[in-house]
């Protein structure tokens, strides 16, 4: 039979089924809703058949793992070779507190570290800055100087662990602090590995922790990427993040499209700065969210790999297959957690983690059940890690590569995601790129609209959230113990900073900061100058302020 004959045969078979089997059933037992949609409110059909994937060619579109277009995964053996890295995001209080938590997590079998910084640190402010009041050590660890970083990694050999650091606007400074700690430990920069998030575009779009305007921010990012290719070759100098875009209310497709378009923007800037695409692209990494809608999320991950591979090969002409690979970290969706009946969050997180694994993630953070209320306690953090360990060792989903390939539904959804992505790329390209799109508020408005539509669907009970708009309890059956960070953290930090400023060589601090400003005004790579400031124990705030003098500050345009 030719393909055409086969298609028409199937179409006939489907019509027959609809007529003879489906219709009488629907007459007797109507479906529960007129339309079924995903968490992102994407309509889903009743049934998927080979007709939905007839545009796909196995070798061209699905293919083999470890080969272009990587739909099935970036490694030929996936989790049979190596499990994903279980990397739990942690950080609170002082560097002393978080150092203790890190050691605990490593003892529990965690494979890599992931640092959460507090808001002042994320904004490039020292703990003793007036705007830091009430925020020190609250949603992450407070790091104001090299001294804090030394405490944070005390007793943790940096050549042996990999560390991910969620830091963006001041990423170059925090990275420099990490490198100097490594240097002091005698670790070889050529051997250390980890990731800095260093993704400012999604800050403008979603998370909103920016310092400088787009152009100098992009320059700092290009500087770190260029520096890493030379000096820290195993480091991932950027983690292009959809996580926060999703948390801000984006749909799965918007998360995917905006994140990959951000990736394109970074590659364009690096290439324009004179870097060879194959020199840095293999070190780019991504970070996605994983929400509740199981198959939509899996399709998103598979589409991410396929779209990125094509972008890198066709749009940028990358030739090294490693440049085509979309390697990514996943975190389960914080915004899916409920304050009501918080124990239910363990179940939500398990479903999400399973989708991330079936989607082929390289590393994973599972949220703790209490995160709609506060930072996780030691117990809930362990339970979240155990969730991953159970999936890895007991569920059996790791035994084969990309087990959902060939599913009519999953492949059709993957194709839809892919198409939707290219449509967004076209729109954003037509606007003049992602920075131009951000300046006119395009991704921001799309996300706000989606967030509102979703909340309305929940309010109208078109989407049921267990314990929130259905199965509600008047009184919580179990009280969740809470990790509480008090103001003593801020006091300790202020005192440490006071002593540091009195003890260090302030003339040297001044000299290194002046040299950095000079470099920032020119076109030299700023990283070596930032390293000198850090070695002299200039604080995070002092270094960021020096750059503010040269670069100015970002103001969000009204829209």
């Amino acid at each position: 039979m030719t393909t055409k004959e086969m298609t028409s045969h199937l179409e006939e078979a489907l019509s027959r089924w609809e007529e003879q089997t489906l219709r009488p059933t629907l007459a007797r037992l109507p479906e529960r809703a007129a339309e079924f949609t995903t968490t992102s409110l994407r309509p889903i059909k009743r049934l998927y058949t080979p007709l939905d994937i007839q545009h796909l060619d196995f070798e061209r579109d699905i293919g083999f793992p470890g080969e272009y277009p990587f739909t099935r995964g970036i490694h030929p053996t996936m989790y049979r070779g190596k499990l994903w890295t279980m990397r739990q995001f942690a950080g609170f209080g002082t560097a002393f507190d978080t150092n203790k938590r890190f050691k605990y997590l490593l003892e529990q079998g965690q494979m890599g570290l992931s640092v959460a910084f507090d808001l002042p640190t994320l904004m490039g402010l020292d703990s003793d800055h007036p705007l830091a009041e009430g925020e020190v050590g609250k949603c992450g660890v407070a790091v104001s100087s090299l001294e804090d970083m030394e405490v944070l990694f005390d007793g943790i050999p940096l050549e042996e662990v990999t560390t991910s650091m969620t830091i963006n606007a001041p990423a170059a400074v925090i990275f420099a602090m990490y490198l100097v700690v490594a240097e002091k430990q005698g670790a070889d920069w050529k051997k250390i590995s980890g990731t800095i998030q260093n993704d400012i575009l999604k800050e403008y779009i979603a998370q909103k922790e920016w310092i400088y305007p787009p152009a100098p921010s992009m320059r700092l990012i290009v500087d770190t990427i260029a520096f890493c290719t030379q000096e820290v070759p195993r480091w991932h100098p950027i983690s292009i993040s959809g996580y926060h875009i999703r948390e801000a209310g984006a749909t799965a497709l918007q998360e995917l499209a905006f994140t990959l378009r951000d990736g394109i923007e970074y590659v364009e800037w690096c290439v324009r700065a004179g870097l060879d695409v194959d020199a840095f692209a293999p070190r780019l990494s991504f970070f996605f969210n994983c929400h509740n809608d199981f198959f939509e999320e899996i399709a998103k991950f598979r589409a991410a790999r396929k779209v990125w591979a094509r972008v890198m090969r066709e749009r940028f002409g990358a030739r090294d297959p490693r440049s085509w690979m979309c390697r990514f970290h996943t975190q389960t969706a914080g915004c899916s957690l409920t304050a009501q009946q918080p124990y239910n969050n363990v179940v939500r997180t398990t479903i999400q983690a399973l989708a991330a694994v079936l989607g082929g993630t390289q590393s994973l953070h599972t949220n703790a059940l209490d995160e709609a209320l506060a930072l996780p306690t030691e117990f809930t953090a362990m339970l979240a890690l155990r969730t991953q360990q159970i999936i890895a060792h007991e569920s059996g989903v790791v035994n084969t590569v990309d087990p959902l390939a060939g599913s009519y539904f999953v492949e059709a959804l993957t194709s839809e995601m892919e198409r939707g992505c290219y449509e967004y790329f076209e729109k954003i390209d037509a606007m003049g790129g992602m920075i131009a799109a951000i300046e006119r508020g395009f991704p921001q408005k799309e996300i706000q609209e989606a967030a509102y539509r979703y909340q309305q669907a929940v309010d109208r009970r078109e989407k049921i959230i267990v314990g929130v708009n259905e199965y509600v309890l008047e009184k919580e059956p179990i009280e969740v113990p809470i990790l509480y960070i008090d103001e003593s953290v801020a006091e300790i930090q202020k005192e440490r900073l006071r002593r540091l400023r009195a003890r260090r060589d302030n003339a040297k601090v001044h000299r290194t900061l002046e040299a950095l400003k000079e470099a920032a005004r020119g076109t030299e790579n700023t990283m070596p100058y930032i390293l000198e400031c850090v070695r002299a124990y200039a604080t995070l705030g002092e270094i960021c302020d020096a750059l503010k003098e040269v670069f100015g500050e970002y103001q969000e345009p009204p829209f």
């Binding site: 808001l119 002042p120 994320l122 904004m123 402010l125 705007l131 830091a132 009041e133 009430g134 925020e135 609250k138 949603c139 800050e203 998370q207 909103k208 922790e209 948390e247 801000a248 209310g249 915004c335 957690l337 409920t338 304050a339 009501q340 709609a372 209320l373 506060a374 930072l375 706000q448 967030a451 509102y452 909340q455 309305q456 929940v458 309010d459 959230i465 314990g467 929130v468 708009n469 009280e479 969740v480 809470i482 509480y484 960070i485 103001e487 969000e556």
Partner: protein
């Protein structure tokens, strides 16, 4: 008085940039017929109270997800007292541990909304509180 639209200031105090909740709530209150002013990110308690005074609002909604609520909310409440704005109804929304809720209410916060609160509930509680506040002040 009954015809006057309820005026609401939605504010983001502190360094927290998570504005999804603030924006969704602002829109829901607007769709429910209220006048809503959104301050934008990273406002100090002083800026928020000044805006409340200038805009002559009935309600302030403070959105905080960073854990700094026990520092920021008392400052706002104190400044409202000082400016003679104690009739303004204050709501807090965000990541707030259970044990802080009675403390915030003791400061005069009318209600604390946690993740998962339905918009309809927020709209209703805001309407009722403003009604109560007007009745007691008349």
């Amino acid at each position: 008085m009954g015809e006057r639209k309820i005026r609401v200031l939605i504010a983001k105090p502190g360094l927290d940039g998570h504005d999804r909740g603030a924006k969704v709530v602002a829109r829901a209150l607007r769709d429910a017929g209220m006048e809503v002013i959104y301050t934008g990110l990273r406002q100090t308690p002083e800026q928020i109270v000044t805006a409340a005074l200038q805009e002559d609002v009935d309600v302030i909604g403070l959105s905080i997800l960073s854990g700094a609520h026990m520092t920021l909310v008392p400052r706002v409440m104190q400044l409202l007292q000082e400016k003679g704005l104690q009739d303004v109804v204050v709501f807090v929304g965000g990541i707030i541990p259970q044990e802080d809720i009675p403390k915030l209410k003791a400061l005069g916060v009318a209600e604390v909304f946690l993740p998962g609160t339905l918009l309809e509930q927020i709209v209703n509680v805001v309407r009722q509180s403003v009604k109560r506040s007007l009745e007691t002040s008349e």
